[in-house]
């Protein structure tokens, strides 16, 4: 049972990683505890709560329902936006790839909208959508949508022409070409788009929660992890800010891991 742990600890690259993290934590601890070195204030890290203080503030949070509500709210917003982006983005990207008329009509407009950062949409979204919750979901959706569309489109355009020629020679209908050539060929690009998109979604949801004041369920510690950080800042609980930041890191890491596992499952053929 301890074999995998043992293996992990004594593996060269993971032990290096662990050592680096420990050194970083020690450095952080020392810097924040001393604050001033030889009469000179330690830059930024000297003002940040020490890791021990963060852990100290974190422990009561683990039994605080508000903290976990924040997790759930942020996760919910991320996944709603992300799933909508996938469900709309994949067919949209495929349409642009296979239909020249659609490409000609839509792509220029798409390219004008794409450089607009999702956060620039926050005010419009708040005005436009009836609830704060929907505004946040919309902004989150935008974060992943463009990336997914661009990846699907690029993946479909890069399909080897000989695959189409071979399929047509052997009697494939258009529908069959789409089902057995275009779609499977695009799956790896979808996986890449999804994992990049998931990262962007987390960036966006946190900022959107800060700006919009935590959504309609907002207030207290129930407004999502972004609002959790903002609220802690307003209350001068600096150690909770760091708790919130690390929580986002963990949540994002788990989400990307999930996407990667799903992606790997559908792209077995790319591995040797």
């Amino acid at each position: 049972m301890f074999r995998p742990i043992q293996k992990f600890l004594f593996n060269r690259s993971s032990s290096r990683g662990l050592i680096a993290i420990i050194i970083f934590l020690l450095f952080w601890e020392v810097c924040s505890r001393s604050g001033v070195w030889f009469g000179i204030p330690v830059p930024w890290i000297g003002k940040v709560p020490a890791p021990t203080a963060v852990v100290h503030a974190w422990i009561p949070m683990l039994s605080d329902s508000g903290y976990w509500t924040s997790w759930l709210l942020s996760i919910k917003r991320v996944y709603i936006g992300f799933i909508f982006a996938m469900v709309i983005g994949i067919p949209f990207g495929l349409l642009l790839a296979i239909n020249r008329t659609a490409y000609g009509l839509i792509f220029p407009t798409f390219e004008v909208f794409r450089p607009i950062p999702p956060l620039a949409w926050v005010p419009v979204a708040i005005i436009f959508w009836p609830t704060n919750e929907m505004s946040i979901a919309f902004v989150t959706f935008l974060g992943a949508f463009y990336t997914i569309v661009i990846n699907v489109l690029g993946g479909a355009q890069a399909i080897d022409q000989r695959f189409f020629q071979a399929a047509r020679s052997m009697g494939s209908s258009q529908g069959d070409v789409f089902k057995r050539i275009v779609f499977p060929a695009v799956v790896p690009s979808i996986a890449v788009g999804a994992s990049v998109g998931m990262g962007i979604t987390w960036n966006v949801v946190i900022a959107a929660e800060m700006i919009s004041g935590g959504g309609s369920d907002g207030g207290g510690k129930g407004g999502g992890l972004g609002f959790f950080i903002w609220d802690s800042y307003l209350n001068n609980s600096y150690d909770l800010i760091v708790v919130g930041m690390i929580s986002i890191g963990i949540a994002g890491y788990l989400s990307s891991g999930l996407i990667r596992i799903i992606g790997d499952h559908f792209t077995k053929w790319t591995r040797r």
């Binding site: 020629q165 047509r168 052997m170």
Partner: protein, 289 residues
């Protein structure tokens, strides 16, 4: 081995006056010009020509992926209107579908035409066995060796029982040993079926070993330079083939024609031709020593 009567074998392809231009305006360029030739049914015709002369363009026209700018191409008297399973192409580097296993790749045609039944499933099994991939039927193409990929691709075409098999430098990029193995392998397949085969290559040894009929092409814009009937009896043995004067004589005739073509295009400013001329002159020296 006795030659079978080829009269009933389908797949005679006739090109008459075929010209193909690429590009428009200033950059318009003829790649194939006034090319007329007959790919005889039930024979293995090998087309050889300088690399980049337009052989692959010719294949795209015969396969029906593109249309000639002028001239006509017919198969058994019917004009070619588009791609069809009567003429299947085995491509240069492998064009196996990377997301399908060996088995799925080979059964692609029957599934595409909704012709899956016990007969087609048995045929798939038979072909997988025949190309020696039964242990690899659940593997994806990138888990197969280069030689296995080519064999898989041959089987993927054969399952559709095409009237004509078109092979575009199918063994290019394989190492020398594998390539020679594939020649013997492919020659065996051909000798069993005696279907119409059209094989395109730049490799002279490959051409002499495989061909019933050699079609030597000129440089761009390409057309037929000469046709040589190769009546070396089958089955041929690669190990002894080039001990025969007949084979060597054909080989030197090919070299001569290709050399003349290379000289022409070298004068026209082709760098690829320079390599060929240098190689040919070296070979001439080593032959005389």
């Amino acid at each position: 081995m006795e030659q079978r009567n080829n009269k009933n074998t389908p797949g005679e392809i006739v090109l008459s006056g075929v010209t193909k231009y690429y590009g428009i305006g200033e950059s318009k360029k003829a790649v194939i010009e006034d090319c007329s030739l007959t790919i005889e049914a039930g024979k293995l015709s090998v087309m050889i020509g300088p690399s980049g002369c337009g052989k692959s363009s010719l294949i795209r026209l015969i396969a029906g992926f593109e249309k000639p700018s002028s001239g006509t191409i017919t198969i058994d008297g019917k004009p070619i209107r588009g791609p069809g399973k009567d003429r299947l192409v085995v491509f240069q580097e492998s064009a196996l579908f990377p997301w399908m296993t060996t088995e799925e790749n080979i059964s692609f045609g029957p599934i595409a035409r909704s012709e899956v039944n016990t007969e087609s499933q048995n045929l798939a099994k038979f072909l997988i066995d025949k190309v020696g991939l039964s242990q690899f039927k659940k593997k994806f193409p990138n888990q197969l060796s280069g030689g296995m990929q080519r064999r898989c691709e041959l089987a993927r075409a054969l399952i559709n029982s095409p009237e004509v098999m078109i092979l575009d430098e199918p063994f290019r990029g394989l190492d020398e040993m594998t390539k020679e193995l594939m020649w013997e392998y492919y020659a065996n397949l051909y000798e069993e079926t005696r279907q119409t085969n059209f094989f395109v290559t730049t490799d002279i040894d490959e051409a002499v070993f495989l061909a019933d009929r050699l079609i030597i092409m000129t440089n761009t814009p390409t057309k037929v330079a000469q046709i040589i009937e190769v009546d070396i009896p089958r089955p041929r043995k690669l190990s002894t083939l080039f001990e025969s004067d007949q084979a060597n004589e054909i080989k030197s005739r090919i070299l001569k024609i290709l050399h003349v073509e290379a000289m022409k295009s070298f004068k026209g400013g082709s760098k690829a031709a320079a390599d060929f001329i240098e190689a040919a002159s070296k070979r001439a020296v080593s032959n005389t020593v």
